[in-house]
C-alpha cells in the first residue's frame, strides 16, 4: 500500500515506454519487504516520500527542492551536491536528499557483479534511485543524508576502487564514445584518452580552481556520438589525413544491391533501389567523389572527412591510416551568452602514447583561463570576450586559414606594436617639424 496517493503520477504508468513511476513504486515496495536483509541507513520510506513530493510538483507545477546546500566529503570540492526538500514535515524521508556522482568507466561498460555491489551499497546507504547516467556521464546516485556521505566515500574507495566525479567549478568528469572497443570508425583510442586525462587531472576534478565548470569530451570520429563539439570546453575528435580506403568490389556490391546501404539503417521503409550517384556522390558536401565505369574515386585533397560516404558504405570504405585528433575549444549550452559550438584550434595532432602534445595545449589554456576568466565565465565566453587570437597566443599555435570559415568582414584590426615599423612611441615635436599648428 502506497504511503501517499499519486493519482497524477499513476497516469504515467500507461503507455509502452518504460515507466519510471512503475519502477519507483516497485522499488518502494521492495524497500519495505527488504528481501536481501539490507541494513538500510536512511529512511525506509524514502522512495514513497520521493513519489509523494513529485506528485505535489505535478499538482502545483513547481519544484520542491530548495536551493543548493554545501555538503561534501573531506578534501573534495565536488562530487556531492547538497539537496533539501522544502516540505520536510510532509515528506521526512527526503528532507535531506543529496546527490552523489560516481566517475563512470570510459565507454560505460560494466560487469554485472560490480553493478550489483554498487546497488548493495546504494540500497544500504542511499535511496536506491539513480540516473544511468547523468548528462555529463557520471553514474548519479539520487538521495542520501549527510552522515552517510563519508561512509559512502570510504566504502567506494576502500572496497570498490571507485572515485567520485566532478561538480561545481571543477573539471567535470571527462566522457567519451565507445571508441575502438566496438567501432570501426574510431580514429583515436577515445576510451584510453578519456581514462588517461581523468586520472592525470584528478586534482582539477575534485578541487575547484577554475572560473566555472570545464568539460572534456572525446569523440572517436567526426560522427560525434558523445557530442563533444557541442558540449565540451575541450573537444578531442578523431580524424585522419590520408586517403579513405576503398574496396572497389564491395562498392560494386552496394551498387548491385547485395549489401544494404548505411548498414541497414533505413530498412524500415522502402526507399527504392540504392543509387550511388544520388545517395553518395551528389550528397558529398565537397563534391570530391565520382563513380565512373564501375569505379569509385575520391579526391583526398578536397575531402573534408564528413563521414557520409563511409556511413553509407561501411563495408566498402574505411577511414585512412594516418590518424590523429582535431582539438576544438569552447562549446557550451546557452547560459549565459548564448549557445556556442567548439571552435577549431588544432587541426591535427597525433593521439598516441602519453598524449603529451594534447596535454600541453590543455594546460596552457587552463593557465590563461584561470588568469583571465571572470567568475562563472565558460571558456567559450572568455574566448568571445578576448578574441580567438588570444588562445592562439597562449598556446603558441600559428594562425592558419583552417581556423576560420571566412576572414573578417570588418577592418578593425588590432595591430601589435612590434608589428608596425618604429613602434607607437612618437614625439609630437617631430610631427610639428612638418605640420604647423
Amino acid at each position: 500500500m502506497a504511503k501517499h496517493p499519486t493519482p497524477l503520477l499513476d497516469q504515467l504508468e500507461s503507455g509502452p515506454w518504460p515507466s519510471f513511476v512503475s519502477d519507483m513504486k516497485h522499488a518502494a515496495e521492495q524497500r519495505h519487504k527488504n528481501p536481501r536483509g539490507t541494513n538500510q541507513q536512511i529512511p525506509e520510506g524514502v522512495i514513497d516520500d520521493l513519489l509523494g513530493l513529485l506528485e505535489m510538483s505535478f499538482e502545483d507545477g513547481t519544484t520542491h527542492w530548495k536551493h543548493g546546500g554545501i555538503v561534501g566529503v573531506f578534501g573534495y570540492g565536488g562530487g556531492v551536491i547538497g539537496r533539501y526538500c522544502d516540505q520536510p514535515d510532509k515528506f521526512p524521508g527526503v528532507a535531506h536528499f543529496h546527490t552523489v556522482r560516481l566517475n563512470q568507466p570510459s565507454g560505460l561498460y560494466y560487469k554485472a557483479d560490480y553493478l550489483e555491489e554498487l546497488c548493495d551499497l546504494w540500497d544500504m546507504r542511499g535511496s536506491g534511485m539513480t540516473n544511468m547516467h547523468g548528462s555529463t556521464g557520471d553514474i548519479i546516485w539520487l538521495g542520501t543524508t549527510t552522515p552517510q556521505l563519508e561512509e559512502i566515500f570510504y566504502e567506494l574507495t576502500h572496497k570498490h576502487n571507485q572515485d567520485l566525479g566532478g561538480s561545481g567549478s571543477n573539471l567535470r568528469t571527462p566522457a567519451c564514445c565507445l571508441g575502438m572497443s566496438r567501432c570501426e570508425y574510431a580514429c583515436i583510442d577515445a576510451q584510453d584518452i578519456c581514462h588517461t586525462f581523468t586520472n592525470e587531472y584528478q586534482d582539477m576534478l575534485h578541487r575547484p580552481q577554475f572560473p566555472y565548470k570545464f568539460k572534456i569530451k572525446v569523440d572517436g570520429c567526426p560522427n560525434g556520438c558523445v557530442c563533444s563539439i557541442a558540449r565540451s570546453d575541450f573537444s578531442i575528435i578523431g580524424t585522419w589525413k590520408d586517403d579513405i580506403k576503398i574496396d572497389q568490389a564491395a562498392v560494386k556490391a552496394y551498387v548491385g544491391g547485395e549489401i544494404a546501404p548505411n548498414a541497414g539503417a533505413h530498412a524500415g521503409r522502402d526507399w527504392g533501389k540504392f543509387d550511388i550517384q544520388k545517395e553518395v556522390i551528389d550528397l558529398c558536401p565537397t563534391k570530391c567523389m565520382s563513380y565512373e565505369g564501375g569505379k569509385l574515386a575520391i579526391d583526398t585533397k578536397n575531402c573534408y572527412r564528413c563521414m557520409h560516404c563511409i556511413n553509407v558504405m561501411p563495408k566498402a570504405l574505411r577511414v585512412g591510416d594516418e590518424r590523429g585528433a582535431s582539438i576544438l575549444v569552447g562549446a557550451k549550452a546557452p547560459i549565459l551568452d548564448g549557445a556556442q559550438m567548439s571552435s577549431l584550434l588544432v587541426p591535427f595532432v597525433p593521439a598516441e602514447g602519453s598524449y603529451d602534445e594534447i596535454k600541453e595545449v590543455l594546460e596552457s589554456i587552463w593557465d590563461w583561463w584561470m588568469e583571465e576568466g571572470k567568475n562563472r565565465e565558460r571558456l567559450g565566453e572568455t574566448l568571445k570576450r578576448l578574441g580567438f587570437q588570444k588562445v592562439l597566443e597562449v598556446t603558441g599555435i600559428k594562425p592558419m586559414a583552417q581556423h576560420v570559415k571566412e576572414p573578417r568582414t570588418n577592418p578593425y584590426i588590432f595591430w601589435k606594436e612590434d608589428e608596425v615599423p618604429g613602434g607607437w612611441t612618437r614625439d609630437i615635436n617631430d610631427y610639428r617639424k612638418l605640420h604647423q599648428r
Binding site: S106, N131, L142, I152, R269, P334, N375
Partner: protein
C-alpha cells in the same frame, strides 16, 4: 536502523584515506570478444531494429541488442538488467550516452533469444522494461535532465515529459522509418544540462516571470553584488525597501522589462526564486545536430515559443512533437536531418507544413548574432 560504520573514523578523517583514484579501468569491464578485437573492428550492420552485428578483422562477430530505458532507474531495475546480462552475456553490460542499455553476445541465436526475452519483460501496469530499438534511422532514446524529481531550478519535469513523448513516438523507436537519425533532448531549464541546443527536436523548460524578491531574507542570504553581476541583461540593481514592520533593508531591485528569466540570479541568490505554475512551461526547438556528416553541426532553433505545463501527460506538447516528427518523416529526403530539411525547404515552409504559428517571439533579438538570423535578401517564399 542502527548506524553501521564503513570503517571511516570521523575523528581522524585522514586515517587510511584513499582519494584521487579515478574511475574503474574500462578494460576490466570489456566483454572478452571486445577486448580481443579492440581497435580491430572492420564493419557493422543493423540486422533488424535494435540488433547490431560488428565484425572484426579476426572474423569474430559480436551481436548487440539495444534497449531503451528511463534515465531515472532504481537499483531494482539495474539488478534485473544485470540478471539478463548474466543469463545471456556472461555478465557484461553497457549503457549508451543516450540512456540505452546494450547487451552483447557472440551468437546470433542467443541474441535473438535475448531480444525476445527483453521485449517480454514488462512493469505490472504494462509498460516495457527493456523495449528493443533505437538503432539506425529511428527516434533514439531522449537525453534529458532531472526536472522536478531532483533539481532546484526546473521550469518543467523531465522524466514525465520524456515518458509522454516516447510513448507518442514509440513506433519510431522500434522501427527504422525516419529519413535519418532523430535525436531528441529534454532540458528542464535554460541551463540545458541535457544539451538541447544541438538536437533535431528539443524541449526546454522555460520560466516567463521575473524572480520574486524575498526582501526580508535577501541581504542575509546573498552577496548582493555577486547576484547583480550575474544578470546578463543588467536587470538588477542594489536598492533599499521598507518591510511591513517599517524596517528598512538592503535588497535587489528588478527591472522587469529587461529580465529574460534565465535564472542565473537565482543560482547566485536563493532569495530570487522564479518558478510559477502559470509562468512556467516549455519551448520546442528543432533542427540542431552535432555530427559533421554532410552539413556542419548546427544549433537548434526555437519553433514554438511556449507550451504550458500540462502534467501528468502534457497532451499539447506530445501532439506538437508528433506533428513535427511525422511531417519531417513524410517530407524529408533520405539521409536528410531535420534541420537540413527545414533549411532546404525554407523555414517559412517549415512553419506552414508543421501547422505552427510564427510569432514575434521567434525573431531573435539577443545581442549581435540576432542580426545574422534576419533576412538580408529578396529570396524568400510566399
Amino acid at each position: 536502523m542502527a548506524f553501521v560504520s564503513s570503517g571511516y573514523n570521523p575523528d581522524k578523517p585522514m586515517e587510511g584515506r584513499i582519494s584521487d583514484i579515478g574511475p574503474r579501468l574500462y578494460k576490466d569491464f570489456l566483454p572478452p570478444v571486445l577486448e580481443k578485437n579492440y581497435g580491430k573492428w572492420v564493419s557493422h550492420e543493423i540486422l533488424e531494429p535494435g540488433l547490431l552485428v560488428h565484425e572484426a578483422e579476426s572474423g569474430d562477430k559480436v551481436y548487440t541488442v539495444r534497449v531503451g530505458s528511463a534515465r531515472l532507474v532504481s537499483t531494482e531495475y539495474i539488478r534485473e538488467a544485470c540478471e539478463v546480462a548474466k543469463k545471456y552475456c556472461d555478465g557484461y553490460i553497457r549503457w549508451t550516452t543516450r540512456n540505452n542499455i546494450e547487451f552483447m553476445t557472440t551468437s546470433l541465436e542467443s541474441a535473438k533469444a535475448l531480444k525476445a526475452d527483453l521485449n517480454g519483460r514488462k512493469f505490472d501496469k504494462g509498460s516495457y522494461k527493456f523495449p528493443v530499438g533505437g538503432t539506425g534511422a529511428s527516434v533514439s532514446n531522449i537525453v534529458h535532465t532531472q526536472g522536478w524529481i531532483h533539481c532546484h531550478t526546473p521550469a518543467t519535469d523531465a522524466s514525465g515529459t520524456v515518458k509522454v513523448i516516447m510513448d507518442e513516438l514509440f513506433e519510431d523507436f522500434t522501427n527504422m522509418r525516419m529519413p535519418a537519425i532523430v535525436r531528441v533532448a529534454v532540458a528542464c531549464c535554460l541551463n540545458m544540462c541535457g544539451a538541447c541546443h544541438c538536437s533535431d527536436l528539443a524541449v526546454v523548460g522555460f520560466h516567463r516571470k521575473p524572480p520574486y524578491v524575498d526582501h526580508e531574507y535577501l541581504d542575509n542570504l546573498c552577496e548582493i553584488p555577486l547576484a547583480i553581476a550575474s544578470c546578463p541583461t543588467g536587470a538588477l540593481k542594489p536598492g533599499k525597501t521598507d518591510l511591513a514592520d517599517g524596517k528598512k533593508v538592503n535588497t535587489i531591485l528588478v527591472n522587469q522589462e529587461r529580465c529574460m528569466y534565465c535564472g542565473n540570479c537565482y543560482t547566485m541568490c536563493p532569495s530570487l526564486p522564479l518558478s510559477d505554475k502559470e509562468g512556467d512551461g516549455v519551448i520546442i526547438m528543432v533542427g540542431g545536430k552535432v555530427s559533421n556528416r554532410i552539413s556542419m553541426p548546427k544549433f537548434s532553433k526555437v519553433a514554438v515559443a511556449f507550451i504550458p505545463n500540462e502534467p501528468p501527460r502534457w497532451p499539447t506538447l506530445a501532439k506538437v512533437c508528433k506533428k513535427i516528427i511525422s511531417t519531417y518523416a513524410a517530407e524529408a529526403n533520405k539521409y536528410e536531418r531535420l534541420g537540413d530539411w527545414a533549411e532546404r525547404i525554407g523555414w517559412e515552409s517549415f512553419f506552414e507544413k508543421c501547422d505552427l504559428e510564427f510569432t514575434h517571439h521567434l525573431i531573435d533579438d539577443f545581442r549581435d548574432p540576432a542580426y545574422f538570423t534576419w533576412r538580408q535578401s529578396t529570396n524568400f517564399k510566399f
